[in-house]
Subunit: 313 residues, 4 copies
């Protein structure tokens, strides 16, 4: 996450320019506006702009002329009610805009959330920086034995070292060849006058998926909570979870009442199937239930047992 | 557009609360924030919040750390370039939120624009006000003879009077029966203690389509320009055009450079078909072109002739 | 749901035209293709076209060259897994298209689901039919005392009769005035030659919200399940629930494995909050829990008690 | 585009299974159903399913009970009218589903079209094949001198050879290291029993952006035309244009009337700005117009001159 001195200076300068506005304003979020919040080894999340606050949700839900209710406790009650009953539209009335720096393979997962706006740094137009992601040793995990889509134990010793060496060497070499193929020198002159240089839109295909890209990303609060509930989840890949955790931190600064309801009902909540609910009702009555008479498949049974903190056997 | 004294007071109070922010701020838009801008006989558009300005479009297009370019002329050039080449995503990085009061039949056209966020005043939950739209005499038009979807000459004399009487009497009577069926008196007591009162979600079905409803509506700048280009168009129904004109006025206050490019390329621009372009090229060379040898159907030919200011004969 | 003889004949004719296709085909859905399935007093849902079946979900999830897995039990297992883990994109790979006739006030709720395609019958262009919704006596409910958004007991006796009379008379009168203002006679001639006739786009504003409209509506399977989970819910207004129930019936014919998983996990499932889950764990351990020590607000506590079938006191 | 014998056999088998259906069916599209249509060196587009035909657009526009109009010429007239007047919703009533194999850097451009459904082959779950894109010699272009986002002359001689060698060697080496890090042998055993093997979701980060991925992609006809109009355009990168050209070919087989209108009005048409239109009107009147008195910026002037086939000087 090394900003250049010029980039740091631009951010510092912007943070000195205070404006007067009639719009709802969140001081706790203003405090971290523009600052890069680190994620992974070279990535960051910067809050660039925002619209609305907890009160704006109440205001929209009531279609009111003024701001919200008179008391914070009323706002809290209404926001909890809206989230519990899946009245999602008032949360769409708040919006936030980020500048994110992230590895390309993370960007490819991230972009699958379609209800957001994106402007990515163009490698057709510009040259990408030489920054790529290398996992920290504690995240260099083996394939899981039980989950075809997950990680197992952390690699150790020679194998870990060999993996890191390969990742570093390949990314470095491929980036070097990228520059060589581009053949761009100082002041728009070719580096080697004997060569034309390959078009940027072609040369980029030699780069590796751990190279960092960056984009502006804007999303409404409802869809941000949905993103976070999927990507801060234990089933998400660690590398995108690292960003989702930063987004959760921002959420808490921005709309603390909503963030609390989100932790309670969305990120921290769970779903029960119709059969799972029947099992829970029987357990509460003191009945003994086994997988065989639960009506659940073995895998669902184990997941439910883990959720309820009971012995699956 | 009669605000109640309470509503006017709430707006006045909000306009006294100035906050400090680091976010991009548009003084010309702050000036009209919260004020109702009239549309039709009882409707309005209020700007409730906004995110971004002309500079924010440039900032997103460049994925930059600072604000935009150094000079307004550079911003103008880039914004024009983006619009001309249909690079629409940077315009999605600005967002605006309105409170709109509008007749139900207008709301039904408006809602067809799906890329926006809406919170409508709930007639399941609350009682609607007794306000309905009556066309001004100069908008009381006959069906067009030539366009199955348009208006012709203005009605006059007895026919005009009869239409206005019917519209007023039917809307008034139906609203009166709506209140009667609801049977809601003061302080949550029934008006007539002998009756239960019909559920609000049912009673509303007796209302007419010219009754006013209201909603919060939030949209990004790209989709706002698309909305305006379709609804400020001469083919749009007058009643929604009245609102699109207000939105255009807001657009000019908010993002003057973009609004200018929008007038030049989107609202004021036009499309030529492949065959239409061939006709134009021939005309510029000084050739005479008739419908018969234009390759265009009669209707397309007449439309093109009108566009180019030539004699279709 | 009175089809004209011409409409019935068109449907009959279409049902005689069998084509050969290599596409996945669902005989149980072909059986009801084009037929109007009744909803409310004059409404219907007709399946007009569909794409995909249960196997197509598996095929997309596997990005396979062939059709799906070899065995139905494998398909069932994968589909359940996908739904339980919110892998929603494979369900977006099936699509269905309906022709729906519905009251305008129902259409206004329905249209809030934005992730669908709609073509509505145009009252700017055409004249609407004289059909409006009147609740059956058993659905003529009073406002709920406890839920500001719900229904209470059914109205009876004189009050019920008076409500039905008002609804019928007002809708009938307003429709009559609509025709009078239009002044359209046979063969494009005015009914009264002395009058011009009001434009259709204006005359429609005199109609009541219980008048029937119709549209083509196309949606993917994921969003159809979401629609049904919200609108077949006990909190939804009865009049839209009547349609959601028909959609559920179609779902079962079309994709029986997915419909079963949908009943188990989406329509029939439930959500537990983080605190709700803690309460459940304590109850299963045999602890006594009261609202006071549950960490839940009174309303949430009552809802949880009802869900679990325990005494809230 | 080398299918394995198993993949080819699956496709052949599917093409023998004919079903009876009442749905609209397009024989010309059935002919190419499931067959891979080649794009670039190893990519393809396969039509997997479709919904609707030209008649279905007319049917939806009319919200009709039967199929469309009686005569093809009427359908053609209506479809042209709808496209010319931007009535886009009837085109959303047709849907098509593809299986596409494409380089990752192309997939990253493609996915920016959000109004579509995607299921991508998961490199968290499975191992990617060793297939990567190498440009044919005639597409190995230098960076454009005049357009920061385009290509110039084709590279030749040693420079071309060096570029191809680098691309091939780097992609091959990185893929080899990918397999080495995975350490997966036959029958779920490790290749080297002394090593654990890196998780698939991590190992993939070593791959280059020219590696092929594949996905199922489903889109409605309106959005497909929008995609094609942007990506078959001369400003689009050649590698995605190669796919857009295949999609255009499919479009012509599927909905020939619409495809013709699309070529005339969308792909082949153009836009004129308000000022550009004034210039055209003056030129048609026989006036001489220069950039200086055109009201256009030099770049816009040159673009307009090229469009109209006049001398910009």
């Amino acid at each position: 996450m090394a900003l250049t001195p010029e980039q740091a200076a631009e951010i510092d300068r912007l943070r000195t320019e205070t404006h007067a506005t009639l719009r709802p304003t969140v001081p706790a979020l203003e405090d971290l506006l523009f600052h890069p919040l680190p994620a992974l080894d070279h990535g960051f999340v910067r809050v660039v702009d925002y619209m609305g606050d907890d009160g704006a949700i109440v205001q929209a839900a009531r279609v009111s002329y003024g701001r919200g209710t008179k008391r914070v406790s009323e706002d809290r009650g209404l926001i909890n009610y809206l989230i519990r009953h899946r009245h999602t539209t008032p949360f769409e009335m708040c919006e936030i805009k980020f500048h994110v720096k992230l590895p390309i393979f993370v960007a490819r997962q991230w972009i699958r959330h379609r209800t957001a706006n994106v402007n990515e740094y163009s490698a057709r137009y510009s040259i990408l920086d030489n920054e790529f992601y290398l996992p920290a040793p504690e995240h260099l995990a083996a394939q899981s034995d039980t989950n075809r889509q997950g990680r197992g134990a952390v690699l150790e010793g020679d194998e870990a070292q060999r993996v890191l060496d390969l990742l570093r060497e390949d990314a470095t070499r491929n980036y070097g060849h990228y520059l060589e193929m581009l053949n761009e020198g100082a002041e728009g002159k070719p580096a080697d006058p004997a060569r034309s240089g390959l078009a940027r839109e072609l040369a980029r295909m030699n780069l590796t998926l751990n190279l960092y890209t960056q984009w502006y990303w804007k999303i409404d609060l409802h869809n941000l909570m949905h993103f976070v509930s999927l990507r801060a989840d234990a089933h998400a890949q660690y590398e995108i979870r690292a960003y989702a955790d930063v987004l959760l931190h921002v959420l808490e600064r921005w709309v603390p009442i909503t963030a609390s309801a989100c932790r309670e009902h969305i990120v921290g909540g769970t779903r029960l199937s119709a059969t799972g609910l029947k099992v829970v009702r029987r357990l509460i009555k003191g009945e003994r239930v086994s997988q065989a008479d639960s009506g659940l498949q073995p895998r669902e049974w184990r997941e439910l047992a883990a959720l309820l903190g009971i012995d699956p056997a």
